[in-house]
Symmetry: C2
Subunit: 393 residues, 2 copies
């Protein structure tokens, strides 16, 4: 996959007319530039430059003790090791390529294209002081966003499998849920099913799965608590797993009936159907060329038109090697989203769609699905939740 | 431990006369600032500022959906949540503190103090544009290096336990080693012993343990290969584990005798004794106030005086929450080490001591121990390897 993504990167460099893209890192096991997972496939200890050229060049300049590991990976045709310092070999390589522009990994808004630390940016300026290249840096964000977004068939296949495995965990979970289980116990069941599959969570395990039950739950991004799922509660789970390095990220909603209740109360059903409608409308609206903010507005407007408060987050994010895979979002024009609302939806991208609303006295109704953008619209990679699920008592 | 380290940080701010230290992060699960592990203990999704003030202030400005998780952690007295953007609340908090200098996490040479990405540095300049604080940034490296280096008793206790567990793994390993085992098989045995203890590796599992056998091995930082341990080989292992978040990092050397050999050849014994002598001399030289480069020179000089080539790396690094814990190193004045050779050894610091040399035709002799700096010298936290270990055939 690394080899194919490097080939794709070379094509993107041509398309954007950028001569060279340099991933500059050190102690990358700790300060980990996310681009390493896409075009390197390993870590380094000392200052290292992984350079991909528009002409197909693949050159790594790195500390001598990291050489064997990267030769073994075999993704870079030329490996230039050094013992004392990177200055001389890096200058020599850049002089040879003589790029008019050198893309490096920084971005104010795209966290997946922002792996260069500020200290290493300053160090790079020192290393190249007096050469023309120090004034030729540009942000690699346009390269990185295209490279992560444009999913190869093999990447789509892995995300699809991750979705199917996650839906399967939800189905297994449905069979063991009983009133009175705490959020922590529900999370433990989910982890058990995940362990049974030999898979790992898609994000940090303290919050994957996230489980929320009832009207007083802590809300997204908090860990599971000792709160029990009681009759009358809406309970929802936010969960994803990795399959061969690619992620799912799905949410499902259950209702825990009160004694004697055959169906959920109208308010609960209406909340769930409003969410389901928001997902469907947003998905139907999406196609290449529409802006992320306009997709968000479709779902947000559907929810507020029904009289609910708007959700305090984006409608959806891209997904791939990471659950939050950076670049364009389906989000409102809020400060915290920077220029992301104005990104165009493009063919080959994968997005979550995850509106939410509160049903007073019951809890949160939310569904999260994953879609891939195709020529004329989107296709669901996850089997959608079509109806509210009930806890059997 | 987070609470104690924050208290320690407040003392260091006083000592350095810095009014405020701000850890500024977003999507920190992916772009992970190492300072989060020391003074936050959790992650965030949106732009967030964790501010510690010289007057004891502990203020976190973060996205509303991250609020519950950080309230639950309870390390910050004041949590200021926002929905749309961090600009207004962050400006308000800084105006209230009105710091003369604001330390932020960037450093050309100390990777543990360099968690701020360049894109977020630029974003921070936008956020604070027009305020006086944008011109009051300084590097937090002097704070971070002191905070990580000065081990609390509870931190020393964990490192000591990690060392003891690792030495125990080496002893278990010694009992199962036989000639012909490959590096991969030896690594698998080590992982089995580690799993039996329910512990995790101290660095990325592809290189932890690292195993090298014989004269043709790939050298430090490469993963284990299918190379078999043959009679006449020196075999060494570089391995560490985490105990309650704190690391060990130790190396041991074995000799695989040829048929009929009662003892290792003179050249092998001399190589091992030279390494052992280098460790002892360096440890005896270390005390508060000496420079890292001078400690390195003691060991390096001992090895070159015996006629061996010098090792192509530093003598030792600090260790703690990470195996490579940043700040001052015991290293030569090479470009790649920046200003690290000139750092003073201080009381409370923990260092590895890990010289190496090649015995032609046999392989690498190396020992890595861990010491803590005390008032007048150092104390070994690892039970040192005193003699060459033999493989039973």
């Amino acid at each position: 996959m690394i080899r194919e993504k490097i080939a794709q990167a070379i094509g993107i460099l041509s398309e954007l007319e950028v001569d060279a893209w340099m991933t500059f890192v050190r102690e990358s096991d700790k300060s980990h530039d996310p681009c390493l997972d896409i075009v390197v496939g390993g870590n380094v200890t000392w200052q290292s430059a992984f350079i991909i050229g528009r002409g197909g060049e693949k050159i790594a300049v790195l500390g001598s003790l990291d050489k064997a590991a990267h030769e073994e990976l075999g993704h870079y045709d030329e490996i230039v090791p050094y013992v004392q310092g990177i200055t001389e070999p890096l200058r020599e390589v850049l002089k040879r390529l003589d790029p008019a522009r050198v893309a490096i990994n920084f971005s104010k808004t795209d966290e997946m294209a922002d792996g260069l630390t500020h200290g290493q940016f300053l160090a790079l300026q020192d290393i190249l002081a007096g050469t023309p290249y120090v004034d030729r840096f540009i942000s690699a964000a346009p390269i990185v966003s295209r490279l992560r977004s444009r999913k190869l068939p093999a990447e789509l296949e892995r995300i699809t499998r991750a979705c199917a495995e996650t839906v399967d965990v939800f189905e297994q979970l449905s069979k063991v849920l009983v009133p009175g289980m705490t959020e922590t116990q529900i999370a433990a069941s989910i982890k058990g099913f995940m362990n049974g599959k030999g898979l790992l969570p898609a994000w940090d395990e303290a919050h994957c799965p996230a489980v929320f039950t009832g009207p007083e739950s802590a809300g997204a991004h908090a860990g599971p608590t000792e709160r029990p799922m009681e009759p009358g509660h809406l309970m929802n789970v936010d969960f994803g797993m990795r399959v061969e390095g690619y992620c799912s990220d799905l949410q499902r909603t259950w209702y825990c009936p009160r004694p004697g209740e055959k169906e959920a109360p109208e308010a609960v059903k209406r909340g769930f159907e409003t969410i389901r409608g928001a997902v469907k409308k947003a998905a139907a609206f999406m196609k290449p060329g529409v802006l992320g903010k306009d997709v968000d507005a479709v779902a947000r407007g559907h929810i507020t038109a029904a009289g609910y408060e708007e959700y305090p987050h984006a409608l959806g994010h891209q997904i791939g090697r990471e659950a939050h895979d950076g670049a364009g979002l389906l989000c409102p024009e809020w400060e915290r989203y920077g220029d992301k609302p104005y990104a165009e939806v493009e063919k080959g991208q994968c997005y979550t769609i995850e509106p939410r609303l509160t049903v007073p006295g019951h809890g949160v109704a939310t569904i999260e699905e994953i879609v891939v953008v195709e020529d004329d619209g989107v296709r669901f990679l996850s089997k959608p939740q079509e109806e509210l699920w009930y806890i059997e008592s």
